[in-house]
Symmetry: C2
Subunit: 258 residues, 2 copies
């Protein structure tokens, strides 16, 4: 994960929230927490909610003003839910992550801060004006205020998604899932479909005079699932067991003279 990105919490009231923030940060690989004049910290409640992110809490820096917290930063984002008297350019979290990604790609040592306000009132206008950019999580207007731990989680998640994409580590869905068994080869699949066709001919389900789209549909269904070689072997095994049962039945029929 990127280094030199601070999460700055201004005047947090509930210490449990500081713990939740530490956990959210550590989940996403972030470590630098700065507390601007917290109401009560350290606290038991913070440690409980940190749920194992005690290292983030114990390494947290404590300062008395926002100015002090961000003075060495080259890129400062304020999070804000509401529109203000004088509008400021607003980004959504994804755009913020893109900007951070570009800056970090050019120089990973550049210092970044993301600032979160009080639980009840957010940041003051003076505090917002200290920050270059405002980031807004696109909540619904009628119920816009996120829990501060949840807000940090969303921001940290976007930063991590950006980081993983840049590092080429964003796992490609499905196709990239690490699989325990090699995928079936086209040859294995063709043998499976041939076997399948023979068996449903024997059971009478496939009428050779009216084959309709049966084999095409079966082929499409199975291939859509990208079967691995064990799965193909299992299906072949099932078909073989059906073949044997049919054979057995016809032998029995012969024996009882039907």
């Amino acid at each position: 994960m990127y280094t030199e990105i601070k999460i700055v919490l201004v005047n947090t009231t509930h210490s449990g929230n500081i713990g939740a923030v530490a956990r959210a940060m550590k989940n996403m690989g972030m470590t630098d927490l700065v507390l601007v004049d917290p109401k009560s910290f350290p606290s038991e409640e913070a440690s409980v909610r940190a749920a194992g992110a005690d290292d983030v809490l114990s390494n947290a820096m404590r300062v008395s003003t926002l100015k002090e917290a961000i003075k060495d930063c080259e890129l400062v984002f304020a999070t804000s839910a509401r529109a203000r008297h004088i509008p400021w350019p607003i980004m959504d979290p994804r755009e913020m992550a893109a900007v951070v990604g570009e800056v970090k790609k050019a120089d990973s040592a550049k210092k970044v801060a993301i600032v979160f306000g009080r639980e009840d009132r957010g940041l003051t206008n003076d505090e917002l004006h200290l920050c270059q950019h405002h980031v807004c999580i696109p909540s619904v207007e009628a119920f816009s205020s996120l829990n501060i731990g949840s807000a940090v989680q969303v921001i940290a998640y976007e930063l991590r998604m950006g980081f993983l994409a840049q590092a080429g580590q964003l796992q490609c869905p499905q196709w990239g899932t690490k699989w325990d068994v090699p995928l079936a080869t086209q040859d294995q699949l063709d043998l499976l479909f041939a076997h399948f066709e023979q068996t449903v001919l024997k059971t009478g389900f496939l009428d050779p005079d009216k084959p309709r789209q049966l084999m095409t549909r079966i082929r499409r269904l199975i291939m859509r699932a990208l079967p691995d070689s064990i799965e193909v072997n299992i299906l072949r095994g099932i078909l073989t067991s059906v073949d044997k049962s049919i054979k057995l039945k016809s032998q029995l029929k012969k024996e009882v003279g039907e």
Copy 2:
């Protein structure tokens, strides 16, 4: 926001977390919460943490098995932090939102469920196998377990980002920010730069014999900020006040016979 998307919580232990989930859902415009055999609900703690999302809590459906919760759904995602014995195709939350978006675009009435497991152990393998897709929030491996409220927040945020993008309502950063004053016209900007040049000639800062890149740099700086017409008027006013002060000074000089 999309309708017909359920958030399903299985065997949640801490009722406060149910409240946090309700808040995260309402923040992102989601309303359908299903509780599978919760340990204690309703509860005071849930209402406190819901912070105003009491409607989501009071409308929550309560069922005794996961099967019952998802029986009418056409698309079911399980959230999962860990890799399992038998791998299952994994998506990240953004890919999940893209799939939901495609399904909803084709038919907004299609029912979707996103399933979250217990705080300490997640979902059992049997529960995971009831779900078509597994969604994994890309946390760091050494500290992978998110708070359930935070996990729902990330998923709901991705669904909302997908919804807003589809609805063409994703505010374009900066350029799309609702501004209180019209942007300056090119004509206003040109007059500003001409005025600026005259003034810095008078102050002596701009040497007409060695202009270097001064006016280009000033132009680039100001235009990068996309000034509005009030801001341009303010800058013109400042230049005029400088002009007057210079004039005053030279008159004074004349009067004292310098």
